[in-house]
Symmetry: C2
Subunit: 353 residues, 2 copies
């Protein structure tokens, strides 16, 4: 098969957007919000930040200043609807177990919601989060960056076009040393706030990317997880999980909060193979290697920040009534799968989904 | 840590060998024997082929001619000890389920044995194979090429030296399209002769290489295997298995007889990462990437054919009483692990070893 290699990846979902910008309240001002999401919104075509929400009034003021947001709100003020006329949508970027109350507020205020992954700390809470948005008739997107990265979208199209034949085996790896970025006292390794450890925060990347590029959901999971260091008591420091998809396809995935940086995704099919190395980090280079009977092609096509893409994708969906692919139910499937991973690890059995 | 990168890999087991050559009877003259093993013996420092054994007298004659072997024997003649004075050791390279009788003959004849992997088609038969050699006091080596590939031996030394810190997660992939190399009527997919499918023939490469470079044996396995095509009825066309090693280390491995060529091995540790791509094929290039906090190093150091190395390693061990690392008990562990893989796949449970 002849490969159609773009010199520059374009938005395959681009369309005319009227009524932009979509005005955001950004709920939660941790490192990812300040360093990545707010700059991405500022760089976007269709979005702007008009309110920022934090537990710390000082931080809210400072960030509102920096990003030119009209409202600096506390969580209580946000819950009370202060300044709600100033924004159209809510981006929830708090610890996982706080997503539900903030999404409930958004739904009450009839705001569309972009919610960070994983959707919540438990499947039960994620289910309620999805239901509250459905009941209120607001849009809900789970913030899977890989699904708006143009390069990863291209990989998905190649697979859908049959470039690798029928997919057979996927491998995904994502690891880094978390404790070097914030020490042992952080919510990502607090079981109550995160719902787990490496799996919930970074294991969901290979998990969701496998689902995305295969356009399929796992039917069963086998897994093992470990914590060897006191800092990871009660959560998974390391996790290895094997997803079983329909048609005999498997995805062998690992994630670790205490290993050297790895960020790789590979799909081997009956007729070829696609490897993206590195893939999951915001700044990863996404070098795509496509191997088929026709030869080997390495693609380093330019692609912009997928977080900017994510916000514009969400805004386009909301403003033009385009379907949101990673919607609430899609995100819920990952939380259910994550719970199955933990169950499999605990019970030593294959857990069906 | 400063990396000591050889410009050329040397034999780390080299020593003075007297009484060479070690004279071999090569039992089984399939494609690997004719195209790879016999030329490797001819290229070796310490080995020569003095007898060849086949079910076909014509083939035995032809191959004996080509490789200058004094004896061309049928299996019956070999079993009767014809020409046994002409050889010192036996290389068994028949279908897996025929290893045992040929090794029994070798043991009776007091010949040392180099036996192809996997050692036999079942753990029970592999156990008997090992016992018969132990009882006869002959040396037995399982022919794991990766353990004599200088490049892979170097990777093991790096890991042993702590270059990646404590190993955490291993990924291994080995696949190719078997049916393009011999069609559906071949012993590698005959359950009785092979003991299984992709796992027994090629899945043992990532399995054994993980054991080798980690210098550890798995304590449990979780696995799934599938056959989607009629040609693979009764054996695994695809297999995905997760090995659990001591100290929370996992190896996520896949093998397939019906997927595009993949041949890759990666070890991620707490302090770094080593990737070998490609690794398991005889002609693979073994590009070694070492990533540590000190940077990224790609090594393409020259290394000779590991099959030649394998024969010289075996000869050196036998002639100098050097310990054989991949001995019979070592090879038996893989057959037991393979049976655990199949059991886990069938029962949906974690199987302890």
């Amino acid at each position: 098969m002849e490969l159609d290699i773009p010199t520059r990846f374009e938005r395959d979902w681009d369309r005319t957007v009227e009524d932009a910008p979509l005005r955001f309240a950004v709920v939660g001002l941790g490192g990812f919000a300040r360093n990545t999401a707010l700059p991405a919104i500022a760089d976007s075509d269709y979005c702007e930040t008009t309110a920022v929400v934090s537990g710390s009034p000082e931080k809210a003021d400072r960030v509102a200043d920096e990003f030119d947001a009209a409202y600096a709100l506390t969580y209580d003020e946000y819950a009370d609807g202060v300044g709600a006329d100033a924004y159209d949508a809510v981006y929830v970027v708090t610890p996982n177990a706080l997503h539900l109350p903030h999404v409930e507020t958004a739904a009450e205020l009839e705001k569309d919601v972009l919610c960070e992954k994983p959707l919540e700390a438990t499947a039960d809470r994620a289910e309620r989060l999805v239901a509250v948005c459905e009941d209120a008739g607001v849009s809900l997107m789970t913030a899977y960056r890989m699904q708006t990265a143009r390069s990863v979208r291209w990989v998905r199209r190649l697979i859908d076009d049959g470039v690798v034949g029928d997919p057979v085996q996927v491998h995904g790896e994502f690891s880094f040393r978390l404790l070097e970025q914030g020490g042992p006292d952080q919510w990502r390794i607090d079981s109550d706030l995160a719902g787990g450890g490496a799996l919930m925060d970074i294991g969901v990347y290979p998990m969701n990317t496998a689902r995305y590029v295969l356009d399929a959901d796992p039917v069963a999971v086998r897994a093992t997880s470990h914590a060897t260091q006191p800092a990871f008591d009660g959560v998974d420091e390391h996790v290895a999980f094997q997803l079983e998809f329909p048609d005999a396809v498997t995805a062998s995935c690992t994630a670790s909060f205490n290993a050297a940086s790895a960020s790789r995704f590979a799909v081997t099919g009956t007729e070829g193979r696609i490897v993206v190395d590195s893939i999951f980090g915001v700044d990863d280079e996404r070098r795509i290697t496509v191997e088929t009977d026709g030869g080997r092609t390495v693609v380093d096509a330019a692609a912009p920040n997928e977080v900017t893409e994510e916000f514009d994708y969400f805004a386009t969906a909301v403003l033009t009534e385009m379907d949101l692919e990673p919607d609430g139910r899609h995100g819920l499937t990952d939380v259910r799968t994550a719970e199955a991973v933990y169950e499999s690890s605990e019970t030593g059995t294959r857990v069906e989904l």
